[in-house]
């Protein structure tokens, strides 16, 4: 049945029949679907080709990419999408006319269908419609789909089979590792791991939450740095048994078929994780990164100060920094009150703020002195503090320098710094007289128990000392009369000189002589005026002391200490009065005490004891041990092949580096550089020489040159 007649177009042309249009539209939709499916299939083929190529490249020995974006799966997906998009774009837009053209090409019966889908004359339409109604549109579309899709589908099937037949990447890596081990390649190389069992190692480091640092993954590392407290997980695939230890301590290993996993928390010390499988070891050095404490710098106030009154406000400012983040900060003060031996303390904080993890912050506060109840002499010690957010070992606290604000004492501004004069000579005489008195009293106490000869000997010894003291006092007296120091010798008997009879001094006579010397009238006691010359002063108490000493001397000479004691008391009292009469009251720093070393030498009444002293150990025995270990490792290196360093030597250097991390950072760094170069197959001579210099310290003399690495 013919299609309903379309309305007449302008110029006598009729629109194409709906049936024809519908058939062509169905064909067009079918072709559109086929084009899309073909593009997707070809994209899939491209992706499969990439996967196969990568697998073959891995089998051929290509390195494994560490960056996730370069992993094979991502590459394949990206390639497939790009290929599909490119194919679809190349096919272009499929409209009705193109579909009709395509139908003309594919189906002879669809001759002139392009004309049929356009407005035509009625006679042309009448001619074409019957012919087009017999076109097998479904078969045409089906053939097109088969031609377009079958090759791609076949390719997909073949490539899938190839991928299934090829070994897994882990197995390929294991085989490569085994091959590398068989060839004796070094530990830690991305291409090799000792022993067929250990295989490739992936280390995942998850830092503590408070640090805000991202999770990090490293493949086949020789060493990994991790913040203390980080969760460290080592993964891999091993067919056989695997053991893990840290030094001598075993590490727990989790297994899931051939997958293994070792988890630990990064301690504060280096960890040398030894993975053992198939009789071979693999070392992974975990080096701790310590969370440093915040650094705080006090910007205000810039110096200590003394205030007259405890009023006002002290502006405080400080800068704080931390490597990971600050949690809080503020200022701390301590108020010290008291003097001498008695002090009290109280403290507090001001300007406390929460810093929310910022790595740098400025702290500000005002310290109101009125609120601290300060008194004269009080001291306020102020410093800035900052804490980090370390929630594992406790927050690290950093502090600034301390500033002191002192409140002046009441009389402080009236003080004068006066250098004290040396003690008057009378002081030393008083002390000596007191000692003589003690000795005489002791002699009197012992007198009933000792022989007469012993009594006399001791009494005369005291008498001799008393005489010397008396002479000193006499010299002081005559010095003040203007005579020379040897005045007593010249003018007074008493010590055996031929100048007159021995006897006590007559104070009146002395005063008369003093007045004659001054040219004055009535003898008066004049003040002592320091070093004024001529010195004319008479000190009656000194004269009294001199006479009492004389009496005591006479009593001691006859062996009667009991009779000597009362005049000694009187002499002592007179000297005390003389000292007080001429005392200069001092203010300021007391004179420095200079010890008479020669006089005190070995005068102690007790002796030290002989002690067997152990020989002093070497200043750093650990350094000597490290140097020895380095020498042994270097000998191993020298004995092996320079192109492929001995694995044992590398392991020894790795363990030595771990030990040096905490005690000799420079040596650890030098060893790290040397190990990196050795594993990369590069020349590590310079780094090893530097490590040796650091380990051995100062040059030492040896019997001969040592053989190492080609050096003469």
């Amino acid at each position: 049945m013919s299609a309903p007649t379309a309305p007449l177009a302008a110029g006598g042309e009729q629109a194409p029949s709906r049936a024809t249009l519908a058939a062509v539209d169905r064909l067009r939709r079918s072709l559109d679907a086929i084009v899309w499916v073909r593009a997707l299939a070809q994209g899939g083929v491209v992706a499969m080709v990439v996967l196969v190529a990568a697998r073959l490249a891995l089998m051929a020995g290509a390195p494994v990419a560490d960056t996730p974006l370069l992993h094979t799966a991502w590459l394949a997906v990206a390639a497939g999408v790009l290929a599909a998009a490119a194919r679809r774009w190349r096919d272009g837009r499929l409209d009705r006319t193109r579909a009709a053209l395509w139908a003309e090409e594919q189906a002879p019966r669809a001759f002139a269908i392009v004309t049929a889908v356009e407005p035509q004359r009625a006679d042309v339409r009448a001619l074409l419609e019957p012919r087009l109604s017999d076109v097998p549109w479904s078969a045409v579309a089906g053939r097109a789909a088969r031609r377009a899709l079958l090759p791609s589908l076949a390719a997909l099937i073949v490539l899938s089979a190839v991928i299934l037949l090829l070994p897994e990447p882990a197995a390929i890596m294991g085989a490569r590792a085994a091959a590398a081990a068989a060839r004796g390649e070094g530990a830690g190389s991305p291409m090799a791991a000792p022993g067929a069992g250990v295989g490739a190692v992936t280390v995942v480091v998850r830092p503590p939450a408070y640090s805000g640092l991202p999770v990090r993954t490293e493949r086949d590392p020789a060493s990994v740095s991790a913040l203390v407290g980080s969760a460290v997980r080592m993964d891999g695939r091993t067919a056989g048994a695997l053991r893990a230890r840290d030094g001598d301590a075993p590490l727990a290993v989790s297994r899931d078929d051939d997958r293994w996993s070792v988890s630990l928390t990064m301690p504060e010390r280096p960890v040398v994780a030894t993975l053992s499988a198939g009789g071979r070891d693999r070392l992974v050095l975990l080096t701790p990164v310590m969370d440093s404490t915040p650094t705080v710098t006090l910007a205000q106030s810039v110096r200590d100060t003394v205030l007259r009154a405890p009023t006002g406000t002290i502006a405080l400012a400080a800068e704080a920094r931390d490597d990971l983040g600050l949690a809080s900060g503020g200022f701390e003060y301590i108020v010290s009150s008291g003097e001498g031996e008695s002090f009290t303390f109280r403290g507090g904080t001001v300007g406390q703020v929460t810093l929310g993890g910022a790595r740098k912050a400025t702290l500000r506060a005002d310290l109101r002195l009125d609120g601290l109840a300060l008194g004269p002499g009080d001291i306020v010690h102020v410093r800035a503090l900052a804490r980090d957010a370390n929630s594992l070992g406790g927050p690290g606290v950093g502090s600034s320098e301390t500033r002191t604000i002192r409140i002046a004492r009441l009389g402080e501004y009236d003080s004068l710094a006066v250098e004290g004069a040396p003690p008057a000579e009378a002081d030393s005489a008083a002390l000596s007289q007191r000692m003589l008195l003690i000795q005489t009293e002791k002699l009197e106490e012992d007198r009933p128990r000792i022989a007469r000869d012993s009594l006399m000997t001791r009494a005369r010894r005291i008498s001799s000392d008393q005489t010397r003291l008396r002479k000193q006092v006499g010299e002081m007296v005559y010095m003040r009369l203007g005579d020379d120091v040897g005045g007593e010798h010249s003018h007074f008997p008493g010590d055996g000189h031929e100048h007159g009879a021995e006897g006590r001094l007559d104070p009146d006579d002395i005063l008369a002589r003093a007045s004659a010397a001054t040219g004055g009238g009535e003898p008066v006691a004049l003040d002592f005026h320091g070093d004024e010359t001529p010195v004319v002063a008479v000190n009656k108490p000194l004269l009294e002391a001199y006479n009492h000493m004389w009496d005591a001397t006479r009593a001691l000479d006859v062996g009667e200490p009991a009779r000597a004691i009362p005049p000694m008391h009187l002499a002592l009292a007179a000297l005390q009065r003389a000292r007080q009469a001429e005392r200069i009251y001092l203010r300021g720093r007391p004179p420095a005490v200079v010890v008479d070393v020669a006089h005190a030498r070995l005068q102690g009444r007790t002796r030290g004891e002989d002690n067997a002293r152990a020989p002093r150990p070497a200043s750093d025995p650990a350094a000597a041990l490290r140097a020895e270990r380095l020498e042994r490792a270097l000998r191993l290196l020298a004995a092996g092949d320079s192109a492929r360093p001995d694995a044992a030597a590398l392991d020894s250097l790795t363990v030595l580096r771990a030990d040096a991390l905490t005690s000799d950072a420079a040596l650890a760094a030098a060893l790290g550089t040397a190990l990196d170069r050795l594993r990369a197959g590069e020349d590590a001579g310079a780094a090893l020489r530097r490590a040796r210099r650091l380990a051995t310290g100062a040059p030492v003399t040896r019997g001969g040159l040592r053989r190492w690495g080609g050096l003469p």
Partner: protein, 229 residues
Amino acid sequence: MSAGLTGVAPDEPRRATTATVASASRDGEFVFATAQYESGDWDSAPLVPANLIDSVARYTSIPVAPTGAIVPLSSAALLRYPFAWLTGHLPVRFSDAERRNVRLWLERGGLLFVDDHNHDVDGAFHRTATEEIERTVGPLRELPNDDALYSAFFRFDDGPPTTSHELNGWGDNLVHEHLLVARIDGRPAVLYSNKDYSSEWGYHPDSKRFMAVDNTRFGVNLIVYALTR
């Protein structure tokens, strides 16, 4: 009891910038060094140096300078002295320069003796000084009473001798049976005392003649220990 703070002109910081070397010191002589720090009353025991110098001369043949030296802890001159005495009543806060210099000096073999002149474990000196020592050197531990210090010259079988202030109940009313020690590589670097030897030894050496038992003998052990450990 020792003297208190000396008179200081107002508005002047209580600091000195140079060490005062004993005027009569010669090469080879032991010079008693008093540590000067910026934050407190470092000079609260002015007679201790002379007293211990006298004791060293009295009991040993060690050449010793007749006067001591005052050495700022931030000064490189500290490296010239094997032993330094640090005391005070007030809080101790090392500046960065002081901390660095003290650490360097201790690593090179110096011995710092710190004495709490308050004799008070609750006092600010003890709290702050121990904190600074732990920051600079490391943790303080009890020194065993059979350490070589107690037989370095005189024998003290019961450990550090008690002081009159401990026995009188002064300060924290405790008799401290141990000194504390902070070590570097196993070697004593800082000795810390709560026993107030600054008051016990803070008198003129001439007064020693009136004592039946010289209470400064332990000071001789400290100095001999510092020179021979």
